[in-house]
Amino acid sequence: MSIDPVILFFLLGLIAGLARSDLRLPPAIYELLSILLLLAIGLKGGMELSQQQMSSVLPQMVAVLAMGFILPLFVYPVLLYIGRLGRPDAASIAGHYGSVSVGTYAVAVAFLASAGIAFEPHLALFLVLLEVPAIVVGILLARGIHSGTRWGKLLHEIFFGKSIVLLVGGLLIGWAIGPEGIKPLEPLFIDSFKGVLALFLLEMGLIAASQAREILQRGIFLVAFGVIAPIPLAICGALLGWSLDLSVGGTALLATLAGSCSYIAAPAAMRIAVPEANPALSLTASLGVTFPFNIFVGIPIYLEIAKRLHGA
């Protein structure tokens, strides 16, 4: 099972960062890359969805949404009782791990494409559905229901956060214009996808490297958690995918989503809603440990799990 080229760019970034190179992507470029990725995933998914009947997808959507609410509840007690973290930190990290990572999803999509394995178009929809619920549950775990949290404002910020807006916007546009309409947009959004992903991963490697000192300081638990937690989460995802009759590719992707953890939407929301939680903890686990673990080791494992479940 050969490594996907794009992952080498993550490695390059990681090594450059650890070697304290002055290589850096300007913030504006990082923004551009993530905008392109989010729109591309949305557009492609939406365009393919436009050729499907939605009625069969609806029950699946409900099940996936439910999983989004439940996953952080598995993670929280582990952090609280085994990790002995304080309530805000445990809740915040649970929210991160219940939510999903667009970067990880994109690598998995590239991985499946290289392996020639198809998947259902509505996985892009599941990506959107899984982003928010866990964050809400994480905040609830930290603050309780009757707290002074300004939910209206908070939910607004989560739902209209740029990643949701671009994913949903892309989905709707892709769905509205269909395969014909998307043609003139393909050179920038679809054909360049892997190149954009490569640059994005280069930057992710640089960021992961900048977490290195934190990782050493935070000690063994956080690293162990970051490496081990994704597996049971991904198994939940795989089981759900399998029971929803997804294809092998779809099952592997849903497993990847469950096993991935947020580093854009969740940190931003948690910083405002659970300020007592230390953002260095969650970001280190998420970006410094789990993200690299998933793209190097996790995704192939999740595909293997999906294959076994389907008896392939």
Binding site: P26, P27, Y30, I272, E276, A280, L283
Partner: protein
């Protein structure tokens, strides 16, 4: 022509707070503010990234001494414990004092 009784209050804090902060300044009655993107190091480590979760903003407010204290107190109460934040105040002379 220059009125010397004004204060310049400067806050360096997490970029994630920008919205909350400007809304608070509006509410407290500041006549305006100026923001630039910044990076830096402090007691919460290095904050230097594209990455909005670990970059800073530098906010300036020109106001009278009373307002400066009001803002400083508000920030102290709401953000000092949980956020990377530094605040300092200096004396400035301004023109058009009626504006502030």
């Amino acid at each position: 022509m220059i009125d010397r009784n004004f204060k310049l209050l400067t806050v360096v804090t997490e970029a994630a707070l920008e919205n909350e902060l400007t809304e608070a300044l509006d509410r407290l009655g500041a006549s305006g503010y100026t923001i630039v993107n910044a990076r830096g190091r402090g007691s919460r480590g290095v904050r230097d990234a594209g990455w909005s979760t670990s970059s800073n903003i530098r906010v300036e407010v020109i106001c009278d001494a009373l307002m400066a204290e009001k803002i400083a107190d508000y920030l102290q109460e709401h953000y000092y414990r949980d956020y990377a934040m530094v605040l300092f105040i200096s004396d400035v002379g301004i023109m058009r004092p009626e504006k502030f």
